[in-house]
Symmetry: C2
Subunit: 159 residues, 2 copies
């Protein structure tokens, strides 16, 4: 019943890439990630929301060291996909509340989002699973976000 | 090194809700999920992609039984948020490839997306973590998706 948050994790070596306005039809996700996998680029978060009007944005995060190669691969793919521009943001950090049994995690999610709001930290992206609620935020707020989340979830530093 | 997919999970009791065009400023995510948590609505996936022009879509999945109450709560919030319409889709299914060590999961993701493409199954939403690559698809393709993913990842039925 009680959902326990057991730690706060963060990763500053993240770069967000968004392939804008990809057609929402079978094969597009495969066309983007097959060449990245072939180049052994470590893709971390992948987020794609539901489309409207047959187009959606495909976003994923990579390590900053892979940015140039990733952009080069995507330039090649984008024309063939009929996608719009490829945007990227290197000043981001991934912050996650980790727990177990977070299947009913709406309370934990609400608490995490409220904590960030109180510090005026904008949430750029959200992705959740049963063990993690992950927010992408601007890198400059990393220390503030991690410290206040530790306090709110009553965790010792380093958890 | 080798990323092992240990199972394919699926959940047909899913309903996708999208709050369209929410302002991308601190407090919005908190304003949506706090009342849902207070009503004890079990929120499963939460997906929010990066915004353009200061607006983004907030999508999450719930059990179908919670649809009416969720829509009612969101109607109350949407005006205060300045959000656009609330859309929903009850004919969806969440299919996930589960593994360990999927930090380098771009190969597994590419393989999953390619498998769905070959069956002409459109991927409506994507969300990933180190242990899961999750795709939302139309419910009618559930059996086909689960069976072909088992084959491609060489899993026994029931894994
Ligand atoms: C947008 C992308 O996910 C597309 N729907 C596909 O199936 O590949
Ligand atoms: C869109 C929503 O995530 C908003 N950026 C917030 O911080 O609440």
């Amino acid at each position: 019943e009680a959902v326990m948050v057991s730690g706060i994790a963060y990763d500053k070596d993240q770069c967000r890439i968004t392939v804008r306005q990809v057609p929402d039809r079978p094969g597009i996700a495969a066309a983007i990630f097959t060449p990245l996998a072939a180049a052994k680029i470590l893709v971390d978060m992948i987020i794609q929301n539901a489309s409207l009007d047959g187009k959606t944005d495909m976003t994923f995060t990579i390590c900053r060291g892979d940015l140039d190669q990733t952009l080069e691969i995507l330039e090649g793919v984008k024309a063939e996909l009929g996608a719009g521009e490829v945007l990227y943001d290197t000043q981001v950090c991934k912050v996650s509340a980790i727990g177990v049994g977070m299947r009913n995690h709406s309370g934990v999610a609400a608490k995490m989002f409220t904590t960030l709001k109180k510090e005026n930290i904008n949430i750029l992206m959200i992705s959740t699973s049963e063990i993690k609620i992950t927010c992408l935020i601007e890198e400059k707020y990393t220390e503030l976000a991690v410290r206040t989340l530790h306090d709110v979830f009553e965790l010792a530093a380093g958890q």
